[in-house]
């Protein structure tokens, strides 16, 4: 009995170490790459992009497209292909359920904890980062096209 409990404790400790390592790696990954890119910019003399960025002249080619009708057709086809791709995965993904052996009844599972490893503080941080990122994606995405139109025109 004690051996079984010891094994559980060892499993939990090993898992906690791995989860903490994954979280730390995520942070280090971005800090590391941002540092590398900043060093590249400074060493190669490009500047950081705060008032010192530059665009290579003469590189933007013809932007005339295929006329109103042709462009509308291409964009509609793009949306249709996207819908098909999502539809294909909607069909495929639920059919590829990985069976995990004998499962307890839903009633028993409903009584279990949500976590095999309680990490309330880390979860709060990750949820906060998740919300901030969703807002960041929304704001940056919404601002981009108007900025392009104001700066470079239609």
């Amino acid at each position: 009995m004690n051996t079984s409990l010891d094994n559980v404790a060892v499993d939990l400790r090993r898992r906690r170490n791995a989860v903490n390592a994954l979280a730390a790696f995520g942070l280090l990954f971005f800090v590391g790459w941002i540092s590398v890119n900043v060093i590249q910019a400074l060493v190669q003399g490009h500047g950081l992009g705060i008032g010192d960025g530059h665009v290579r002249p003469g590189q933007v080619g013809d932007q005339s497209g295929h006329g109103w009708l042709g462009d509308t057709g291409l964009l509609a086809a793009t949306i249709a292909v996207d819908a098909l791709l999502v539809g294909a995965w909607v069909w495929l993904a639920p059919r590829l359920r990985i069976e995990g052996g004998k499962e307890p009844s839903p009633e028993k599972v409903a009584q279990e904890d949500w976590y095999v490893l309680p990490i309330p503080n880390l979860t709060r941080i990750l949820v906060g980062v998740g919300i901030a990122c969703a807002v960041g994606v929304s704001v940056c995405g919404a601002v981009l096209f108007p900025v392009i139109l104001i700066r470079y025109g239609w």
């Binding site: 499993d11 939990l12 791995a18 989860v19 971005f30 941002i34 890119n37 900043v38 590249q40 910019a41 490009h46 950081l48 992009g49 705060i50 530059h54 665009v55 290579r56 080619g61 013809d62 497209g65 295929h66 462009d71 086809a77 793009t78 996207d82 999502v86 995965w89 993904a93 639920p94 059919r95 590829l96 359920r97 990985i98 839903p106 409903a110 279990e112 904890d113 949500w114 976590y115 095999v116 490893l117 309680p118 309330p120 979860t123 709060r124 949820v127 998740g130 990122c133 969703a134 807002v135 994606v137 929304s138 995405g141 981009l144 096209f145 900025v147 392009i148 700066r151 470079y152 239609w154």
Partner: protein, 236 residues
């Protein structure tokens, strides 16, 4: 097998034993999820992001109402990570689909060349010069095809299944998290190797690229959490 451990009650982390006897989904939760999906897709269009954000907040409020009404509601963390993943994947999916299939349109060229001059030089230097059109960087194009056909549509579907507490949703979420993490490594390495034509040839440079792209870090946020959660809860 790691056993479950009980700790303090929290609606955000969900670290409490569920008291609800079934794994069925109530009508209020279904309604809230539909609102959340609409919000995610609006954010995914980029231009309608702020409207989508407001609709997402309404969706979360509806979830809270469903919980107050006694329905079986998943922890907020599941909703946040699901929504975050759909928003992330949908935004990238649409943008890169335009570069993949509609790079010859006026709209596509104005958008991509503008993005290129502001954020990433790969979208105006030698634009439409390669075999498949669009970005003039071969490495970027290969990542793009990989993601438009595989990672992003699958991730949208996986995140939806994950939010609906489907086992396949959890599994696919885990798989796409690892795919996305590997993608991040290859992608940023690709950009860094070609630095002077990418971040080095734009108005906003390194700072602009990271300010614009750092929000797409879903796998690094979600992966640690997924290895702490009880997978058996995803049993619908």
């Amino acid at each position: 097998m790691v056993s479950a451990v009980s700790i303090s009650v929290s609606p955000v982390t969900g670290t409490f034993p569920s008291t609800l006897p079934t794994n069925s989904e109530g009508p209020l939760v279904r309604q809230a999820d539909r609102v959340l999906l609409v919000g995610c897709l609006l954010v995914g269009t980029q231009l309608l992001g702020p409207i989508g954000l407001v609709i997402l907040i309404v969706g979360v409020y509806l979830l809270k109402r469903a919980k107050d009404a006694g329905e079986d509601v998943r922890p907020l963390a599941v909703t946040v990570f699901g929504v975050f993943s759909i928003v992330d994947a949908a935004t990238n999916f649409l943008g890169w689909s335009i570069d993949t299939f509609a790079h010859d349109t006026h709209l596509g060229q104005v958008f991509m060349n503008g993005f290129g001059r502001l954020i990433d030089g790969g979208y105006y230097i030698h634009y439409n010069d390669l075999l498949l059109g669009g970005t003039g960087v071969a490495g970027e194009k290969s990542w793009q095809i990989f993601c438009v056909f595989g990672v992003f549509p699958l991730r949208i579907v996986a995140a939806w299944g994950f939010m609906k507490m489907k086992r396949w949703g959890f599994d696919m979420m885990l798989i796409t998290c690892w795919m996305y993490a590997v993608f991040w490594f290859g992608y940023i390495l690709n950009i860094s190797v070609d630095f002077e034509n990418r971040m080095g040839a734009t108005v906003f440079g390194v700072v602009g690229w990271w300010v614009f792209d750092v929000w797409y870090i879903t796998p690094f946020v979600i992966l640690p959490w997924m290895y702490a959660v009880n997978r058996r809860k995803w049993n619908r």
